[in-house]
């Protein structure tokens, strides 16, 4: 990279001569190098799926969850540096709690992702380092259907139909584009999400990996939930069979 060694990349408060803020780009790298995370909006709900490396059997089950409730209706999935992500989740939770106290109703997903985006953006001004984590925010209700936002280390906050972040994001996005996601019901969505995250794995490098899933939709009555273990296992089995089948055809 031409930026290295010029001295313009040592603080988020410094612009480079061509108008870039390298510290923010480097923070984005922390997300780009971390485990893949996908979120897809289907016909009547949204599913998030993350790939996690379990480096030792000494860890307890699901020792480091990447997906949480922000409130009953909104789920967050954090990608990148784990402690940074956890801190973001904590901020989102605090904001949602404040909203509930002030307005006596749950904070909508768009307001949550906006609040977190503003908070992340402050960290790109140079007082402290930018967050090395990004966050998906997901929700579903009858009026507006499924909504999916991604907040990035730069403070950008876009709404998506589907998106992928992390190590194998490009391959994952290519796979998602092959699907007619608007027509998938929840069951198909969970299966396809599992298939994609397993298909994009680098078999020589990604060992002892585990899937974590969260969903929200009509079937959960608009509540964000962890996907039950048996559903995840069934999806993984279906995906393994499907991937083997595809290999046979090749």
């Amino acid at each position: 990279m031409s930026s290295i060694g010029t001295g313009y990349d040592l603080a988020a408060s410094t612009f480079s001569p061509d108008g870039r803020i390298f510290q923010v780009e480097y923070a984005q790298k922390a997300v780009d190098n971390a485990g893949t995370m996908i979120a897809i909006r289907g016909k009547n709900g949204i599913v998030m799926v993350a790939d996690k490396v379990i480096s030792s059997k000494l860890y307890t089950d699901n020792a480091n969850p990447r997906m949480f409730n922000v409130n009953d209706n909104v789920g967050v999935g954090v990608a990148g540096n784990y402690p940074d992500g956890f801190s973001l989740k904590n901020y989102a939770y605090g904001e949602a709690m404040k909203w509930l106290k002030d307005y006596r109703e749950p904070m909508p997903v768009q307001n949550i992702s906006n609040a977190v985006a503003e908070y992340i953006h402050i960290h790109t001004l140079g007082i402290s380092r930018p967050f090395g984590a990004g966050a998906f925010f997901v929700a579903w209700n009858k009026q507006s259907g499924g909504r999916l936002f991604l907040v990035e280390p730069s403070g950008l906050n876009y709404e998506y139909k589907a998106w992928a972040v992390g190590k194998h994001r490009q391959a994952a996005k290519a796979e998602i584009e092959k699907l007619k996601i608007d027509e998938l019901d929840m069951q198909q969505l969970v299966k396809e999400a599992a298939r994609i995250i397993m298909a994009v794995r680098d078999e020589s490098k990604d060992k002892n990996v585990q899937i974590e899933m969260g969903w929200v939709g009509e079937h959960t009555n608009g509540k964000y939930e962890e996907v039950p273990e048996d559903v995840v296992t069934a999806a993984e089995e279906w995906a393994t069979a499907k991937l083997d089948e595809d290999d046979m055809e090749d």
Partner: protein
């Protein structure tokens, strides 16, 4: 040595998206004498190896009680660890004041993670050069929580941190299936055997350099030292030393 221009400040990302200062703080933890924690369904045990500056000084305290249902063991800069132990004691007592019940260990872990994370992000501080094992018992059962300076906080069946702790983790990974149904006494023996594997061949565990903390169902956190430790060490001494020592672990720094 490792110097590069992205490692002088905690608040600087390297072009690869890494935080070098934070990684160096993790190295500080790896130089402190080892500590081991394991749990069964009903109990959690932490054991630690204490160091003395010289023959005239006492051994440095490594295990602290933080509430009647939890204790911590420290590896790394012990003065940093003492600050964190005090923080956890305060968390425990304020939770008791607010909710009139002991703090769930998970909540303790979350508070700890947020505190550690702040020290990796905000200017004017350095990360804590210390790792901590929390042993606790609450309504969800026994817990062992491992923390490190990079603010990775994680729940474990058993683990070890500090100098040559890889040897202890190797022992734990080989025996992890046995822990769940172990009695408190068996747990202590497993923990001490793992701890012994972190020692060079010419050194051994003694009543002076070893401390044991245990907590469990209907058993408040207890710190065993000196005479009480000797009883358990006797049981360990009947097991032959394994020759396998970790390769590539740094020599311990005196602190």
């Amino acid at each position: 040595m490792f110097r590069n221009q992205y490692d002088s400040d905690v608040t600087v990302w390297s072009p690869q998206g890494r935080l070098h200062q934070v990684e160096y703080a993790v190295e500080a933890m790896k130089q402190g004498s080892a500590t081991v924690g394991i749990k069964s369904d009903t109990h959690a045990v932490i054991v630690a190896l204490k160091r003395a500056q010289n023959e005239l000084s006492s051994h440095q305290k490594k295990i602290y009680e933080i509430d009647t249902h939890a204790g911590v063991s420290i590896a790394g800069l012990l003065s940093d660890g003492r600050i964190l132990a005090r923080f956890l004691q305060t968390e425990c007592s304020s939770w008791r004041w607010d909710y009139k019940q002991p703090v769930p260990i998970k909540k303790l872990a979350e508070a700890m993670q947020l505190k550690l994370q702040a020290n990796t992000q905000y200017y004017g501080r350095r990360p804590f050069g210390v790792g901590i094992l929390v042993a606790g018992y609450d309504k969800d059962g026994a817990h062992i929580i491992q923390t490190d300076p990079s603010a990775e906080v994680v729940s474990m069946h058993g683990t070890s941190i500090g100098a040559r702790s890889q040897s202890a983790r190797t022992y734990l990974e080989r025996n992890v299936e046995k822990f769940e149904k172990s009695s408190p006494e068996e747990l202590i023996v497993h923990a001490l055997l793992a701890l012994r594997d972190t020692l060079p061949a010419e050194e051994n565990l003694s009543a002076q350099n070893t401390s044991i903390g245990i907590v469990g169902k209907d058993a408040p956190f207890t710190l065993l030292e000196d005479g009480q430790v000797a009883v358990h060490l006797n049981q360990v001494s009947t097991h032959p030393r394994t020759t396998a020592q970790a390769q590539g672990d740094a020599e311990p720094m005196q602190m």
